[in-house]
């Protein structure tokens, strides 16, 4: 059954794939839109009724938010780390859904609190904030690791091969250019500072942006270069610098990511433990639910 499904999906994917990859992921926009709509509904509810503990709307927000958060934690991991859900579409869709539920779920829980942060419920929400914040940090660390086409983390050896391919292409381009231009390219491709790998992990986005600007500025001096070649050159140089940084911080990133897991996973599990107690207490005290 699973084989048949995966086969049919693969066929379909062959046909659909080019269109799908052209579409920009829009989970952030969708998440913000849903957050905006929920905020509107919440304000309207607050204005039109007398908000109080134990009413169905508040409970619904909490239940839905908790379910979304549970899906955030469980579904993406299951798809990514097991083969059980291989038939159910590419991982990137699951990531989009993961991001969507990871934003909307906690926001619904925020509304569920009614901005009251007391006792266990307050602690649960605090843990939610920590887990969400930690999730963003984890994502930033995670993207610092270079990946192969299959999405598996690339090894130092693979990175070395890629580096050699880039350098070969660069050399080819340089060879066709006059001496003055060769010097410019050489100067751009060489790294001048040796930075602490930890600093590189944290500041890599900034460094990338700064190098991108420098490239655009410097490459304009190669005035006899066609635009297409200039773009290719810029791309190669940027790719080279990124690879160099990735090789630099590979070990550090892996260490950081392991440390992050040790923080993120227990806090996340504790959050669900605390939410579980919160739900049981609500049922035990019958605080307005299922009356």
């Amino acid at each position: 059954m699973r084989n048949r499904l995966s086969v049919s999906f693969a066929r379909k994917q062959q046909f659909v794939d080019p269109t799908v990859t052209a579409v920009k992921p829009y989970e952030l926009e969708l998440s913000l839109f849903v957050v905006f709509v929920l905020t509107g509904v919440y304000i309207a509810y607050d204005l039109l009724t007398e908000p109080r503990g134990g009413n169905p709307f508040g409970h619904a927000l909490g239940i839905a938010g908790a379910l979304l958060m549970l899906m955030t934690e469980v579904l993406y991991s299951l798809r990514k780390r097991t083969s059980w859900l291989n038939w159910a579409g590419p991982v990137r869709y699951w990531l989009s859904f993961h991001i969507f539920t990871g934003i909307v779920g906690p926001f619904m829980v925020l509304m569920h609190t009614g901005l009251q942060f007391r006792g266990l419920a307050g602690l649960s929400f605090f843990l939610t904030l920590v887990v969400v914040g930690s999730g963003f940090i984890g994502r930033y660390l995670y993207t610092a690791l270079p990946r192969t086409m299959s999405g598996v983390t690339a090894s130092r050896q693979e990175l070395g091969q890629e580096m050699r391919a880039i350098e070969y292409k660069l050399a080819q381009i340089k060879a066709q250019r006059p001496q003055r231009e060769q010097e410019i390219v050489t100067s751009l491709s060489q790294r001048t500072t040796q930075r602490n790998p930890l600093l590189t992990v944290v500041g890599r986005s900034f460094y990338q942006w700064r190098y991108h600007r420098r490239l655009q500025k410097e490459l304009r001096r190669l005035d006899q270069l066609e635009e297409q070649q200039r773009q290719q050159l810029a791309a190669l140089l940027e790719q080279k610098r990124t690879l160099e940084r990735q090789i630099d911080m590979l070990a550090t990133t892996r260490r950081l990511l392991r440390a992050w897991h040790i923080l993120h996973i227990p806090i996340g599990l504790t959050l669900f433990f605390s939410v579980g107690i919160h739900i049981l207490a609500t049922i035990y005290f019958r605080a307005g639910l299922f009356k």
């Binding site: 007391r118 266990l120 897991h261 923080l263 227990p266 599990l269 433990f273």
Partner: protein, 519 residues
């Protein structure tokens, strides 16, 4: 390198460090929750607001309950009225009273406000529908300064108290009225009468004084705030006591004395003392004879009775006695029944006025007073001539000469009733005395009335014996006129002709003229 790959593919949850951290955090959380107790689950502080010095079950306010959730929350059931009422026993009593009444008469809240209000036994919580859901109105966990009693007022339907605020939004100076305007005792929602009276006195002090004297101080007994008892329509009163006839104009306080409305007696005698005139003769079933339209006329045998009109004796001059005391029926009607009338009572009473006159009068006229007197006067305006002229020899007659035994009514008017026909006369002239005699004297007598012309219609002087062949009381025409009975009959065919009429020719031919009645 291989080791890295294996770790990367493995879920980090399986890292021993993560497992231990998770366990430590979870156990820490569990211990924390256990030791903080209810506080961990409390969504907000309990109210510390206290009303007065009242302590219920040794607790002054909810905050003193602390974190003992089970004081109010029944496990897996939630907030139950029974838990609240374990302390708030007064509310429990109100609610039970309300349920008991609902079982009998339907929901208290649905009953019209025009019913006699009696708010005391049921209380406010007995009138609130679904009062067992205490938390519907009384929220908790809203902070120590949250007053769950006062806050419930915001959503409270004041009409449930049977006193609407429709007409109590502003005072006489058009200033908005707040709760404390009527509920003057802090923290309590009782209403002192003074609260009503103090304000309403501003509008009309004299009226309020009078009104309170008449009805007492419990304003809410009658007034529901809608208006001044207009809600209590005449139909409503009619269900208890119809305000028809003269009762329509009665003032409320005429019957409802001392502000009492319930239990006002409905018997006539409760308000109307039996008049002395009755003197115990008619009993107290007034409605047998009287209607609310008025005491007069009373109904007797299904018809309005008026002594002045319906009996031959008016009471116009018989309202008070000679000594000034009011007349009672029994003054004249001495028996047990109205028909028992003793004529001797007339004399017995009138002797007190003038004994000498009465003695003389009764000696002269007898004791049958009513044969002359109808109660309107002492016969001073009686004109005998209108009944029978007393002229000539009759002027000097004693009354008793005609009115034998003082019987006045029905006295015959014919002469022969008193004057027997003299023997010389007997059988010759008949008894129409006045044809020949006057009241002046019997003699001289002469023919004064002769209905038929003495000259038989210009036939000249005729001898009396031509017609009166036997006596003067009879006549015959057949001595001269044809008297063949068959011919006469044939001639008078068209008239209804009896045997008697056959000889009474003058009945139809009074003038004796020719052709008379021949047509």
């Amino acid at each position: 390198m291989k080791e890295y790959r294996r770790l990367e593919r493995q879920h980090p949850i399986f890292s021993p460090v993560a497992l231990i951290s998770t366990f430590v955090l979870a156990v820490g959380l569990g211990i924390g929750v256990y030791f903080t107790g209810g506080a961990a689950f409390s969504p907000g502080e309990l109210s510390a607001v206290q009303h007065g010095e009242v302590m219920l079950q040794g607790i002054a306010n909810h905050a003193e309950i602390g974190n003992d959730c089970s004081q109010c929350h029944t496990p897996f059931v939630g907030i139950e009225a029974a838990r609240c009422e374990a302390c708030h026993e007064d509310i429990a009593r109100d609610r039970q009273a309300g349920l008991a009444q609902t079982a009998v008469t339907g929901p208290a809240a649905n009953q019209p406000a025009s019913q006699p209000a009696n708010p005391a036994p049921i209380g406010l919580h007995g009138r609130i529908p679904n009062a067992e859901d205490c938390a519907t109105c009384h929220l908790e966990h809203r902070g120590s300064d949250y007053d769950l009693k006062t806050a419930a007022v915001a959503n409270f339907d004041h009409n449930l108290t049977r006193f609407t605020l429709a007409k109590h939004a502003v005072d006489y100076a058009e200033r908005p009225l707040d709760c404390a305007a009527c509920h003057q005792e802090p923290g309590a929602f009782t209403v002192a009468t003074s609260a009503c009276a103090d304000c309403h006195r501003d509008a009309d002090a004299a009226f309020m004084t009078r009104h309170r004297e008449a009805y007492g101080d419990n304003c809410l007994n009658c007034h529901d705030g809608q208006d001044t008892l207009a809600a209590f329509a005449p139909e409503d009163h009619a269900q208890i006591f119809a305000l028809t006839g003269a009762h329509a104009a009665a003032a409320c306080e005429d019957c409802h004395t001392n502000g009492q409305f319930k239990g006002t007696p409905q018997e006539c005698v409760a308000c109307h003392a039996e008049p002395q005139a009755h003197s115990g003769m008619f009993g107290t079933a007034c409605a047998d004879c009287h209607t609310p339209d008025g005491w007069q006329p009373a109904i007797m045998n299904g018809l309005p009775f008026d002594h002045n009109l319906d009996t031959s004796f008016s009471l116009e001059k018989h309202m008070t006695n000679f000594d000034g005391r009011p007349f009672a029926c029994t003054t004249c009607h001495t028996g047990q029944q109205p028909a028992d009338f003793d004529q001797t009572q007339c004399v017995a009473c009138h002797q007190k006025g003038d004994a000498v006159f009465m003695a003389d009068h009764t000696a002269q006229f007898g004791l049958n007073c009513q044969s002359c007197h109808d109660g309107t006067g002492s016969m001073t305006n009686f004109d005998h001539n209108l009944v029978w002229p007393l002229d000539g020899q009759h002027t000097a007659l004693e009354c008793t000469r005609c009115h034998v035994d003082q019987v006045y009514k029905g006295t015959p008017r014919e002469c022969v009733a008193c004057h027997a026909e003299p023997p010389i006369h007997a059988g010759l002239f008949g008894t129409e005395c006045a044809a020949c005699h006057t009241t002046e004297a019997w003699l001289p007598a002469r023919l004064r009335q002769h209905n038929f012309p003495l000259d038989h219609g210009e036939q000249g002087q005729l001898d009396c014996a031509v017609c009166h062949t036997t006596t003067y009381a009879e006549y015959t025409c057949t001595n001269c006129h044809e008297h063949d009975p068959n011919a006469t009959r044939a001639e008078h065919d068209e008239v209804d002709f009896s045997q008697t009429d056959f000889f009474a020719c003058a009945e139809c031919h009074p003038t004796g003229q020719e052709e008379e009645h021949d047509d």
